[in-house]
């Protein structure tokens, strides 16, 4: 009987042979990233984040409608579909 865990983001990120604590490691990674961002803001108040601060204004000029969030989801879905097709083709 197959293990059906749905289509969660973490399921895409984990491979079939992920260690048992893999999910926890990914979660810890996100938490550490958040802590780092908060720490940066505390240490350098008023300074923008390197690289990110340069890219965001660029995007705000282009992606000025909330439809872009949905289109981003469609693009992720489409490329994951293409990736699945390619993986299956190579596998067979």
């Amino acid at each position: 009987m197959e293990d059906d865990t749905g289509f969660g983001l973490l399921d895409y990120m984990r491979s079939d042979e992920e260690p048992a604590l893999g999910r926890m490691a990914i979660a810890m990674g996100f938490i550490i990233l958040l802590i780092f961002l908060v720490l940066y803001d505390v240490l350098y108040p008023g300074h923008g984040f390197p690289v990110v601060s340069d890219v965001v204004p660029l995007l705000s000029g282009v992606m000025d409608s909330s439809i872009w969030f949905f289109i981003l989801g469609i693009m992720v879905g489409f490329f994951s579909l293409v990736a699945s097709v390619l993986v299956k083709a190579v596998e067979e």
Binding site: F7, M63, I67, G73, G77
Partner: protein, 563 residues
């Protein structure tokens, strides 16, 4: 004689002659035509004929896989079109790439991608069902596989062309449409060659599929035969006949899919026959939308000088006499009982299977069969309103077209495809549970978007009747974004289903349970007749067992055990 009456008689006449010759054959000419067609499908392609390996079943799988991807893109582009309906300039930033995706620019691509994907699914099913029921292999597997690529290139070319302004874009779009149509003609030739040696009479699903595929082209030919001057009167009739023929193919696929999946025959053979006759001899009111003229302008590009301009259902007494309106109205009204016949027959079979909400394909079919008569009646109201010239429901036409396509037509086509997919490719869906979740996404998204769109439309109609134009925009502006976001559920549902299909696991390593000769085992539920068994594809070599002896191999038991 009246133009519309003449058109309908010509349409039925050509189909009747075709059906007659299909049964009786064309005598000594048959060998010549078959030889030439076989050569055109094979050797005439030259090196192209060796591109694909041509293993049995690969062509059908290729069409279905391409169809799934186009259907996902169709849902996505439809979502964008809905969004642009209330925020026309949401994607104005693309103009920096010289791509003007504003206003209704996404409408035509959404129609082509959605219907293109659906037709690919149906052709994929046809390539499996028709040869199997004739107990023969497909005449040319390689050619059928190549045609899937050609059809995909056709859709892509059409979409690209529709985004390019000027005549070159129109020419590209028409070229893409013609390419898709040409590849469909090759598929029809392939199918006819496959059934040529069939020793038994054609079975019901075969009739549905072949008449549906041929009927699509017959309606085009009839439209051309009626001439340019009659075009404003005959264009919409031709389009409505197209929809009827799509439904005919869908009915054939579903009528085959349910018995082959569940092992339970379709309850009423008489209703199956009546559905076939009814689909051919009535005119479907579904998916009528004047906005489709922009699509038709591209598909009839070489003839567009006066052909599509001003095309409408002319109201009785204006340009068309009342006899025509009366006949078309009657034919449209008569299509409603046909939808009920199909729906009743299918829903009864699905209920008997006991696998609804457990099996993805059957749940989709049940959704489509349930919504079909509802959408047909709703479409009848809006279409007849447009024909009468009153246009009181004009604001709701687009919403009803969208509802008919995504709550009835697509679920039926997709459900039928998923039902026979294990038999086609030897692969099961990755997960039935995830598949059913995806159907919930699709169903709730489509029905929700339809209902909210209708609320918006009727608010608009009511405000317009009361002369409160100022209030219209605010009410619609609040409801339309909600409808768009709900429709995103359809995008996700189709995506998850496509993922489920692509990631499917090979479960038939020991050989498919259905051989080319029919099911190897069959479970009888209750009393049944030999006629019903034969309808379900049972052959002399099939092992019959009663429900009491049911093991894990056949029917709904397998599906329920996966939970």
């Amino acid at each position: 004689m009246n133009t519309i009456v003449l058109m309908m008689i010509t349409f039925w006449g050509i189909l009747a002659v075709f059906a007659w010759r299909l049964r009786a054959g064309i005598g000594f000419l048959g060998d010549v035509v078959a030889g030439m067609t076989g050569f055109m499908l094979g050797k005439a392609l030259g090196p192209g004929a060796t591109i694909l390996e041509g293993r049995s079943g690969t062509a059908s799988s290729a069409w279905i896989n391409h169809g799934m991807i186009w259907l996902f893109l169709g849902a996505s582009i439809t979502f964008v079109d809905l969004w642009l309906g209330h925020s026309p300039n949401a994607l104005h930033s693309l103009q920096s790439w010289s791509w003007d995706l504003t206003g209704d620019a996404a409408y035509t691509p959404s129609v082509m991608a959605t219907f293109g994907g659906m037709i690919m699914l149906l052709i994929g099913c046809s390539l499996h069902i028709v040869p199997r029921m004739s107990d023969k292999a497909l005449a040319n597997e390689t050619n059928a596989g190549l045609m899937a690529m050609m059809f995909t290139v056709g859709i892509l070319l059409f979409i690209l062309g529709s985004q390019v302004t000027h005549d070159i874009g129109n020419l590209m779009a028409f070229g893409g449409y013609a390419l898709s149509a040409l590849s469909t003609v090759a598929i029809i030739a392939n199918l006819l060659l496959s059934i040529r040696e069939q020793t038994t009479g054609l079975q019901a699903p075969q009739w549905f599929i072949i008449i549906g595929l041929i009927g699509y082209f017959v309606s085009q030919i009839t439209f051309v035969l009626m001439g340019k001057d009659a075009a404003p009167h005959t264009l919409w009739i031709s389009e409505q006949l197209h929809i009827g023929m799509f439904l005919c193919v869908i009915f054939g696929v579903v009528y085959y899919a349910i018995p082959s999946t569940t092992g339970i025959p379709i309850p009423s053979r008489s209703l199956v026959a009546l559905t076939l006759v009814g689909t051919v001899f009535t005119v479907s009111p579904m998916t009528y939308d004047p906005a489709m003229l922009t699509f038709l302008d591209l598909t009839w590009f070489p003839l567009n000088h006066g052909v599509t301009a001003g095309a409408s259902f002319p109201p009785c007494g204006a340009e068309v006499n009342c006899t025509s309106s009366l006949i078309i109205t009657t034919l449209m009204a008569l299509s409603i009982p046909v939808m009920f016949m199909f729906s009743t027959n299918v829903l009864t079979a699905v209920r008997r299977s006991g696998a609804i909400f457990e099996d993805t394909a059957l749940t989709l079919i049940a959704l489509g069969a349930f919504m079909l008569p509802i959408m047909a009646i709703a479409s009848l109201f809006t279409t007849l309103d447009a024909m009468s010239g009153s246009n009181e429901l004009a604001a709701a036409i687009s919403s009803i077209r969208l509802g008919a396509v995504w709550t009835a037509i697509i679920p039926l086509a997709l459900g039928g495809t998923l039902a026979i997919l294990p038999d086609v490719s030897g692969k099961e869906l990755e997960s039935q549970a995830s598949g059913v979740k995806a159907v919930w996404f699709l169903g709730l998204g489509a029905v929700g978007a339809f209902m909210v769109n209708m609320m918006s439309d009727f608010a608009e109609i009511s405000f317009a009747e009361a002369g409160l134009e100022e209030g219209v925009s605010s009410t619609a502006a609040e409801l339309e974004p909600i409808a768009s976001i709900l429709f995103y559920g359809v995008v996700l549902g189709v995506l998850f289903l496509a993922q489920n299909v692509v990631r499917g696991t090979r479960s038939h390593d020991s050989g498919p349970e259905f051989s080319i000769l029919g099911p190897s085992r069959y479970v009888i539920s209750g009393t049944t007749t030999v006629r019903d068994l034969l309808t379900a594809g049972v052959t002399l070599d099939t092992v019959l067992s009663t429900e009491d002896d049911n093991d894990d191999q056949v029917g709904p038991t397998v599906l329920s055990e996966e939970e």
